[in-house]
Subunit: 250 residues, 3 copies
Amino acid sequence: MTLAARTADLLGQFHETAPRIHCITNSVAQNFTANALLAVDARPSMTLDPAELPEFVGSADALLVNLGTLDVERRTAIGVALEAAERNGTPWVLDPVMVDRSGGRRAGAIELLDRGPAVLRGNASELACLAECDEANAAAELARRARCVVWQTGAEDIVTDGAETVRLSHGHPLMTRVTAMGCAAAALCAAFRAVEADSLTAASATALSFGIAGEIAGETARGPGSFSPHFLDALAGLNGPQLTQRSPAT
Amino acid sequence: MTLAARTADLLGQFHETAPRIHCITNSVAQNFTANALLAVDARPSMTLDPAELPEFVGSADALLVNLGTLDVERRTAIGVALEAAERNGTPWVLDPVMVDRSGGRRAGAIELLDRGPAVLRGNASELACLAECDEANAAAELARRARCVVWQTGAEDIVTDGAETVRLSHGHPLMTRVTAMGCAAAALCAAFRAVEADSLTAASATALSFGIAGEIAGETARGPGSFSPHFLDALAGLNGPQLTQRSPAT
Amino acid sequence: MTLAARTADLLGQFHETAPRIHCITNSVAQNFTANALLAVDARPSMTLDPAELPEFVGSADALLVNLGTLDVERRTAIGVALEAAERNGTPWVLDPVMVDRSGGRRAGAIELLDRGPAVLRGNASELACLAECDEANAAAELARRARCVVWQTGAEDIVTDGAETVRLSHGHPLMTRVTAMGCAAAALCAAFRAVEADSLTAASATALSFGIAGEIAGETARGPGSFSPHFLDALAGLNGPQLTQRSPAT
């Protein structure tokens, strides 16, 4: 089965099962992230309260841990949420936003890598900062070291488990001019991981969906402002024929 | 006077009086909620700081208490805000978001019901969870128990004070695919309650406005992304003829 | 050189240098503010964590201090951020949102004025509240007292250092019906100040850009909902000919 066909199947499963995705994410990204999840019929929740997190994570199908605006409240929330995820076997995705801007955030991200995320998503400079190596080798190096799938986002997306690697070139330049696109991508990856146990497939399906929705949106958007609603429309409407037609190689 | 005519009157009062609505709400919903209030010419404020809340609530015409992301900061804020509201006789609307996902949140919501909200808004499963009864009877049961108006949102909206009941079937399926629609609806209800002392009429007028704006937006939206701006445009442009024409029965 | 020509130059510098703007701002405004900065190719960051702020502010080209939702977390963040800004000589813009609604916020704003912002932005009533004088004289009075540039936003924008004054009448009435427009304007001013050392020119260029983007958006928007994406599109596309053609007098 091609990646496009598998991705279409998984999108269909969202509509049937409406997976619950709990997101610990930064306040800049919360609204757009929730809308990206709702666009594919996943169900977001976002509380950070330690008293509520065990129940919310306990009844979620996957968890997102995003390190943007990593304050004391979120550090505490992450600890509580990961304990609940480990207790329940809930898969989680780590997004170390701007880890290259702060030593403390980098240290925190490295500790989290030890706790077994299913997928680590970052751009080339964030991953290189985490791996302490050059950008070309960072994704594979981190995948081997943390024994997880690494999804490096950029003009070319690289998804690797350290052995097998999928490369995809979709998307649109306006995606770098809209805040929270990467954060929403990682949340969507958590949703795919909720319905697809193979993390390499889940991350590749997310990269394909996100990139093709970006391509479609970019064809009609007149700038970064109209790109956002067009992108959510495209994501909500993604179907098998679109995915197949736009990704003949996969 | 029909509900449509009364609703048009109240929308006109927003333009004249620009009522101030203080909102204690979750960070996911803050931006969209502020924009929904501004769309009808109400004036939102959203600080959670205990030192500032007495002045902000004291100069507001109504208060929204939304329990999404119910953290320590918001628990404290709700206590301070309600004291100010009680001191000033400010009406308030309670929105127990996702109360069916957390026992602690449910307990908090039940305590708040005792403090006399003008209107309680929730979907069928949230209200059933609060009332500990089946969904069909939850709204009426809660209205009688808490002596407030209950607005149950869904494909059919039910507004009841336990004796009289208004049923409305407006809206659009895309409203469930955009985050914070329900939160914004409750904030708008606080605005209507600021200019209409009868809570049953205020909640019914909100349900009618919100639902018809959703219908109008749904006619041109191409998905959940474009639905949001179309909805705010429709809400801002709502007028008497539209309301009357689309609600012949009321 | 006209203000329009200078503004076009500065917008060009954003594309070349991608200045980093750290924003301490309220949670209602964060997403729209980040998108307004990204629209002109500036790079926003928004963490409030005291442990991370020195590094984020230390590597930023300008800082925004916005007092909307001024809670304990933000009070602490402002102190830490300003120390870092002072240490690094980083210019900063002060936006005392709704300072006329809370005595404590007013006191805080007055203390901050003593710490030397490059630009103070506010509407007429906020500035009059700070200056304790009538609205007509508030901007000039505050500019002299705080030895900074004051940008008073409204139907007519006034930019003054107490001696020289620039008056601009651009924009669109829908700008008052969308939340966070003023907050985003102040953030954009920080970006202009990052690439233009003269604060009067930086604030005037911001007022011109923001106002003309608003004019352009207002020509096609069908309400406050569609105004937002149209505005960001217009801001991202602003160029010399548009600025010159729409501001013949400057």
